[in-house]
Subunit: 138 residues, 4 copies
Amino acid sequence: MKMTQAELTAFLDSEFPQMRSQNFRIDHWDGRMLRLAMPIAERNLRPGGTVSGPAMMTLADCAAYLLLLGLIGPVALAVTTSLNINFLRKPGLGDLSAEATMLKLGKTLAIIELSLYSAGVDDPVAHSVLTYAIPPAR
Amino acid sequence: MKMTQAELTAFLDSEFPQMRSQNFRIDHWDGRMLRLAMPIAERNLRPGGTVSGPAMMTLADCAAYLLLLGLIGPVALAVTTSLNINFLRKPGLGDLSAEATMLKLGKTLAIIELSLYSAGVDDPVAHSVLTYAIPPAR
Amino acid sequence: MKMTQAELTAFLDSEFPQMRSQNFRIDHWDGRMLRLAMPIAERNLRPGGTVSGPAMMTLADCAAYLLLLGLIGPVALAVTTSLNINFLRKPGLGDLSAEATMLKLGKTLAIIELSLYSAGVDDPVAHSVLTYAIPPAR
Amino acid sequence: MKMTQAELTAFLDSEFPQMRSQNFRIDHWDGRMLRLAMPIAERNLRPGGTVSGPAMMTLADCAAYLLLLGLIGPVALAVTTSLNINFLRKPGLGDLSAEATMLKLGKTLAIIELSLYSAGVDDPVAHSVLTYAIPPAR
């Protein structure tokens, strides 16, 4: 672990001011699994009262990025190179949370797996795999 | 073609009021390719002045959904079942646009391909494939 | 569980004679997780003595299909609609095995997650997500 | 272009003897698009007389690899890091061919797009995106 939960929270707040309006919060970080939660707001909803796919992808991307930084330190220039997400079931209106773990941390590539949960729904509502390119000079 | 460009624009405005703040606009729709453009705002940026991945995914998902509705009519309950996106190069700060075409339109499944362009950058900045489940009662 | 380990093994043998030469064997099936193993043969190798990606994809596809049939019964016409695989680390020359679990079993779509292991390597060598379309008349 | 069609064919034959039995042949290579064709044999078929997914993935992976080598030269240690494939429609029993183009050729990562065609079927039968890691010392 290169950054603690408090350091990651401070980093999120200072480097991603655009995210403040989402009220993301890091719920858990033990060096292996990071959980990021978001309250669901009106703007995240789609017709039929369901959480929008893009809201879930935003949460997934942010959770994966924080997991990566937690493990390698504050490398702001690590970039997402790919994201794959499967939407599994309809989320409820409760908090959404993403649990991220590292599948592989290589020198130039990191591959992260996430399950997304909706408060009140037992099974995951989405499953995602993201890839990050890590700049050489770390 | 089941919906015209004007009908799709009206649908976007009435059914997705959350999208209004993004100022998405349909640039082109000929029954085969739909192009959706978005101006880049401060909130879409990441450290280093690049457009965020989630902003690109939001545009991709919306463009694909409009293409689908353009071809099958206003089925508001078609849902995204998967999204795969590869980020290819750094976008500039100009308008972002997504060009969507249908790879396969089946009875219960639609598969859509998109290339994302950034004004001033020749090659695509991202490439995405999305899958939608179409409810049986259409 | 609609098919037992013995029934799945018999089905594999009778319906997929092309697979016999691969010597696939079902190692484990408990109604939740199915493990399919394959011995590595010369023809599965690539330059550098590594198992070929296609050999791993063949194993993943077959394991996912057997898991699906184990849960819904012998629906020979269920078809793969998508496969996503990330190769994580170099496999050794020992047996390869795929552990498949169901992410979502819907009426017309099944989404399956797999981790691939190589005998003698602790961490998974690949991770895959597959989608199957289930014909309506089941 | 770093390798010609004849050089790629010779490389395929010498470095991938396991592929000889598949009778792959390079049909076209102009420095931008590479087309690789395979005749369909009994062992590539699935119940219902359709070409197996793994046969299509093998063709896609090989075509993408040859395209990459055609552009960067004979770097035998470039490795597939991910593959995503969508199966679009049922192939016929005629030759299968894959048309590969480069989406992005970076220093350490190459992203390749392919459409797969079946002789006698107008539209593509599958669409795939592959990622390769390129070893630093090229």
